[in-house]
Symmetry: D2
Subunit: 285 residues, 4 copies
């Protein structure tokens, strides 16, 4: 392990591809991390491929990419984005029988993406608990877009009434909404429901191997690459770094997000999750 | 252990006092358990004392007692009721400095009870996050009376901003609202918040010894009694029975509530929680 | 909350009684905390009562007291010591039928104490799994005195074969054995077994209210005292301080044990467990 | 979902490849499941590929294969076996610097396999806690081959002294040793140590996607196959079935092992883990 603090530029040139976490690495609550566009320009010049792995099931890869493009980072196209929502959609595509519906908690946007795969969806608030014949699966998609008081209780009684597979399309337990404030993420709501009904849900998202596999398979469409030729860049030890380490990638912890500079070494030591490198940020000047 | 199924009448006459759980023993979602008034008449005739131990912080003992009296059970007076909300109130009375306030999630009723002890309360929705000087403690009182979407997120940011003791005044994770439907209880909301902010809350309610101690101290005001002369009657292995066993009481599992007749022996065997007796119900004909 | 760092002497004189944790407060791996005898002399002069609350089921109160007396602290007599082992013994005395036996993991010393109450015990290694008729309860007493490889596996199969109440007489998950080394405590072994067999054990020890109740009842034999006239002194937020707070006692965190001076405020802030006071140690010069 | 009970033969012919769990499907505590050799003969005749996925890090694929061959199932060669131990070995091969050592708990056999990859290993009992410079990683390999009392405590102090990545090469918490008896698996020992030291370990084994990925990549060397053309066959809902479902495979729950016939539907309903099919066994007459 080489835990010296190095520049991101000196590290990244040793790899064929980079996997980026989004929040805390490329963007934060104020918008793009300043200067991050130069990182993509540099990677393009060097012929290093890049992909973004994000625990997000609130919108489609196209919508996620548009956010970057609206801010001048035209390099981030939808094919560069791998989200936990994509894993959920793949799951439903294979597992839900034709004509049946996926019940969900989330926004209309989050459901729309699943519908692009030809599946039917139905919001919890629109479900009739006495007519569940066509509902085959359940998805926790987003913490917004529904009334928690009413629809969480309705979800619990729905899942007690009919046994079905439940998918949690974003495992995060919270997310930042401003410099100092956070919000409950849909992963926490799912954990609460799971404990109350005593069943076991299927979860998609980092640190689970399936997110890294999705990105790895995408990279293989572009280049011939081995796992140890890929660099995972993230700001969170418990998702990005442990997940990357376990999948056989080298890892960089950046200090531009969740893990603050003065706490980085303490957190590494107390967690036992050891990144290959530590960098101030992923910005290449 | 005497796990034979006996009549409640033949058991209870061997004790000086009875501790009753409320829901599933004395009442259910439809109202009083039919015939339960005769149980109180019998106990009065025999001079056996009775107390009700309930994980409830949604209203005062007076209001809880009124429910029984409105239904003709005049024996249940407020001095017979010991609730987890009383433990919370006692805690705040001792620990919150004069003039400071307890922030809460719950109904106005649930807060009113704390105010009868001379304490100030403030609902989360009325808190200014930039003016927390007078707020000294936090209470999870009830799952109703507030907007979950807004006020749970506000609670999280309040507790991140100012370090204070957090009290969960009802540890139940759900409660029945009809024959087949349940609702999230405030204990589940507290568990979710606790996990997100990573702090440790103080919980009051069965199976914790403090509930049994509260009832035992109340009983000692009425009679001279030892713990093994008290019978705990409940419908839930995980709260009533294990709590009673641990406190040194003999215990009766009744089959009129949570634990259904055909599952009782399987649940006892799989949980390892062994009541002294099993009865159909606490009704004495 | 008064979190100023004060001298222990200036605090303790405001109380009628003191509850001490043992390890990290009165003693450490090297022996007595230097100067602690003067604290007992001071308390005697002022007429302040003192009791020691310890998560220890490895030996009797008499043997625990002898340790202090052998080191010149004659003030610590067995009636001043309240151990989690005493709660276990009380439980068995009430709950185990005459003639039946308690199976145990631990040393012979730890079992001997239970036998002084007239109960039979049998070490796991001496049990015949085909002849369990006389075994009625199980106790985790100590991490020493048995072969972990053989006897933990035998315990699991014993508890799968016969349903019985299981008591964990010390909830600690580890304990210090030298300046830098710790050892697995019996509480961790019990947690592992509980998870494998899926049953629910009864646990005795701080922070549970029953330990504080035991000490409170003992204190009431000596003096007329209310809970808010008692000071709990401990070195561990997660057992001594949260337990004392919840029971309605004022609490002192001392920095002579588990919680190091430079980490105390960070730990209080990150745990949300707030002592009434912080002191360097419980020594009174 | 097609939860009708069908014959394994009628199901398997719809797939290009089969993933088998070992214990409870192909073998049990008495040896081979009677008649299972005919299943392999049938699959060979039909040109259906097969692979065995096992949470086992106690020995090499060669040794695991030899067990089948010794019993006349010459079809199970080492290239058909994918074990959690292989994932651990791959991890160490990429992550441990040349010349450094992996400390381990387990048998010599379990360590020998890691050494075949050119790595050094050192048993916990042979470690000098004052000379850890060359030790870079830690592996939980097997529950046998060491003294639990001494070496688990030594492991805890080793991991407190030097921060390193810890790999748990078998996530199972117990395993059967006879008709009615089970034994603690190394996954339980790892869970206990992880909780005591408060760090986060890396785990390999079903239900984690990485085990299914390993087998899928192996299958792709033999045939061109998509995930929904593969059938996962297992006896345990919590590892085989939920893992297979999540990876996008169709799944068969067999009733020849962990999940008994009369409990299958109850367990499916109470867990929410729903296999595509249920079969008596994987035997094809």
């Amino acid at each position: 392990m080489h835990r010296r603090i190095k520049t991101f530029k000196s590290i990244v040139t040793n790899y064929k591809a980079v996997f980026f976490d989004a929040f805390g690495v490329l963007k934060n609550h104020q918008g793009l991390i300043p200067g991050i566009v130069k990182t993509f320009e540099f990677l393009d010049r060097k012929g290093i491929k890049y992909y973004i792995l994000t625990n997000d099931s609130s919108r489609s890869p196209e919508m996620l990419a548009k956010w970057y493009q609206d801010r001048g980072v035209w390099q981030v196209t939808s094919d560069k984005i791998l989200s936990s929502g994509m894993l959920a959609m793949e799951y439903f595509k294979v597992k839900v029988a034709n004509g049946n519906a996926v019940a969900y908690l989330g926004t209309e946007n989050s459901a729309h993406y699943i519908e692009t795969a030809g599946l039917k969806t139905v919001a919890v608030k629109d479900i009739d608990l006495n007519d569940l014949g066509h509902i085959e699966s359940f998805a926790f998609l987003d913490d917004e877009g529904f009334n928690w008081n009413e629809d969480i209780n309705k979800t619990i009684n729905l899942l007690r009434k009919k046994n079905m597979t439940v998918v949690v399309a974003n495992t995060d337990i919270n997310y930042p909404v401003s410099q100092n404030e956070i919000s409950v993420a849909v992963g926490s709501l799912a954990n609460m429901v799971e404990k109350i009904i005593g069943k076991m849900f299927i979860r998609f998202g980092k640190p689970d191997a399936q997110m890294f596999l999705l990105a790895f398979e995408r990279a293989l469409l572009d280049i011939n690459v081995k796992r140890n030729e890929i660099l995972m860049v993230g700001d969170t030890l418990y998702t990005d770094i442990i997940g990357g380490n376990k999948f056989g990638l080298d890892t960089v912890l950046v200090l531009s997000g969740n893990t603050l500079p003065d706490m980085a070494l303490i957190r590494i030591s107390s967690s036992g999750i050891i990144p290959t490198y530590i960098c101030e940020s992923a910005v290449i000047e």
